[in-house]
Subunit: 516 residues, 2 copies
Amino acid sequence: MHERKIQAVNRRGLLLMAAAAGATLTLPRLVLAAAGNTQSPYGGDLTAVRAAIERQRAEAIRRLQNWIALPSIAAENRNMPEGAQLMIELLREAGFQSAKVMPTDGQPGVFATLDAGARRTVGMYFMYDVKQFDPKEWSSPPLEGAIVERAAYGKVMIGRGAINQKGPQATFLAALHALKAASRKSPVNIVLIAEGEEEIASPHFSQVVRQPEVLAALSKCHEVFMPFASQSPQGGVEVALGAKGAVEVELVCSTEKWGRGARDDIHSSYKAELDSAVWRMVKALSTLVSDDGNDPAIDGWFEHVKPLTERQKQLIAEHAAATQEADVKKLMGVQHWVRDLSYRDALERLASQPTVNIEGMYAGYTGPGGKTVLPSRATAKLDLRLVPDQTAADAGAKLRAHLAKRGYADIEVKITGGYNPTQTEESSALIQSSIAVYKSEGMPVSLSPRLAGSWPGYIFTDAPVSLPAGHFGTGHGSRAHAPDEYYVIESSNPAVHGMAAATLSYVKHLYALAAG
Amino acid sequence: MHERKIQAVNRRGLLLMAAAAGATLTLPRLVLAAAGNTQSPYGGDLTAVRAAIERQRAEAIRRLQNWIALPSIAAENRNMPEGAQLMIELLREAGFQSAKVMPTDGQPGVFATLDAGARRTVGMYFMYDVKQFDPKEWSSPPLEGAIVERAAYGKVMIGRGAINQKGPQATFLAALHALKAASRKSPVNIVLIAEGEEEIASPHFSQVVRQPEVLAALSKCHEVFMPFASQSPQGGVEVALGAKGAVEVELVCSTEKWGRGARDDIHSSYKAELDSAVWRMVKALSTLVSDDGNDPAIDGWFEHVKPLTERQKQLIAEHAAATQEADVKKLMGVQHWVRDLSYRDALERLASQPTVNIEGMYAGYTGPGGKTVLPSRATAKLDLRLVPDQTAADAGAKLRAHLAKRGYADIEVKITGGYNPTQTEESSALIQSSIAVYKSEGMPVSLSPRLAGSWPGYIFTDAPVSLPAGHFGTGHGSRAHAPDEYYVIESSNPAVHGMAAATLSYVKHLYALAAG
């Protein structure tokens, strides 16, 4: 369900292509300069660290390949204890003194701490699970992590989890290995919480975070971040100050619960005397949105919706102005935004408006041709996107109340996952240090007030943890959730980091946070 | 799409169980008496014919098994020319002097004539195709036609096409073989038209019927009938005076045709700025029916709908009075008719009201769990049931106009099959001779003003053919379209005919029609 990565695939590359247009000529020089520089404002003379990264290159790649070879998939209950155990081993090898399994009502999480005797403590979020995959759809076996040449990028590793999320996480761990090999202590203490249910929307992750020892450890942190290969194919980075929340819901209308129509599918000629579960679903769904399908019409839906601030609007306006709308539309396969809005207004909607989407729907006969049945059951899968200060719990309750008020109380509302929206202050040390490191690498940076996608960051930004939360990392990869998922190992594009350069960036980020 | 057989499976048995209740004690005696009687009002002394049927018993069973062994399935384009050729051979062997393939834009039909030099000519309708099947779901191989013992029925043949429609048709052909073996001429001339696309709703059958030579041959006929194993498991027969029409339609709403939203499925977070094909489908569908989903709301839908006649209402009232509503509801898995109607009112609706049913619907992600996509396409499969004097063509045109008027002209309306309603006069020779033969066999008969299911009889009842059309035949079978489809070969129930007795009934029916 973590969707920053998907957003990145679909759009950020393109947006930043335009944003970075002014810097195109100088960009390669800047990056090369940074690569040759042994003095960094973040960590000082990094010659030894850089050399360690080079020395450990093969080992770091092998570590990632070994991790990819063990896919943990919560939806299939596959390799879950094994995945948690490997996570623990990986953390211990990287220098965490303590790393242990945290049982939940679902799949286990992992809680680990690295005490470097440092002044400052940083929170981190990892996931050890990956999305399902079908090897038949892959050009390279999804568990092999083969390194292949890809024209636009250089040498990339192909494998399930390559970008989402094992690649960036393994790169971060390589940074800790390099520090150790260069006889440096980590500049910060680290409190790390990992889960194995991210791909099923983190249903039990808060059980891990709310353990007293975890809350106590997090109370020493100033922020929580997750590794992320943030660069677009052109090298730019978008720093997001928040994300929408999301609730995934399955609505099921069945004659059995309703007590009307025929209990099982029956011949369609009986429609004349029997009620239909599918028509009931269509009529119930129709009440959830405006006539054009674009505004939620669930009772009270906008009660807690906060308008964008002037600063947020300004960031969107800057972004719109720096972007070629026609290119975005072409890449997305779009001719018109809703209601024929201007690009800027469409982007404001994207950041500010809650949505009710039907992600899938089925009823009755769905094969080729026809089959004259009166179906006894209809299913609609919705995803509801939330903005501050909506909450997943309140959204679910409002949906139920809306349906019940209209006589649809028998329609089952199965909430299968929910994230609250998340927001982080632009002025926080996390955001400012991230921007500073990206800039020191010569990367064009843009700020996004809010991702339209969702991630479990709210578990850190909401009470009781209440910390800034976000992503940091350089490098590039894509095709999360899709076949041929990849992560750039050796970049042929001077504007994009390969794994070694991204490793060094994590080192710098830790030093930047240490000073934060 | 021929649905009389499905209706029979679901309901008729039960309805007639009640209707026949008064006759239960005398019924076995009557049937046995008929079986021992060598004099029939239809054909006189049938001793030699009966003996021929007995002699040819094994041959008739083998003929049916051979036919079942060659499944012609139009939806899979499987064995179509072969099926038409076998149909021709079967007809020639049974005494048709002429039998030939009739090409169409789809699969070929067959046109055959048997000239017995008789005074009267009878039209007949056959189909040589069968429904798809999955051998894994069968307890006996679907192409073997194995004969197995079934407690309630005796020896039944299991096979695809056993009841629908090869069993009854082979039984009718056995009647012609027996007449020949008994040195009798057929008492009527026969004009027979067969198709190979009945299971895909007869899209090209009218091309066969409207060939000048076929129309010329049909112009000599007084009726058209198809063989049908009409008996319920309890032995009763329902004679139907008509059937609803049916249009199968696939509605497809795609962003591509619409020109809004994203051309392909895209991440659902974009819903805020992009239109949804699924919401558009939901909103468009919602306009097609009343709020409770039970009355068509398509503009002008009731323009040509004729109310029931007093006689039709009387037949329904008799039927309702003779039936245990609670038993019907239990068998159907129903607690309430629409709008909590009385049983009689529900039956009147069933016979008299056109319907708009969603037989199937799908869009976006339909697998387990969720997947955050904004689907680019939604599909709804509708079946529209029509009553006199609606027509399939007019219904399709009205649906298109209704959608276009509301701005949904981009939604594709693919009409995949259509039957007009059909109605046959109770006073016609076909109906009266059928009733008379059933009664002579001691079978309780009830009249149904109109089947809620549909069949291609309108091709005969509509202009330019304009003949009475219906079904005739004794015997029993069931599970048409389902695994373990069966046809009773040797009945252990004295009230239900096996194949041999049903063969003799066809002989009698031909004699009854000859006198009609």
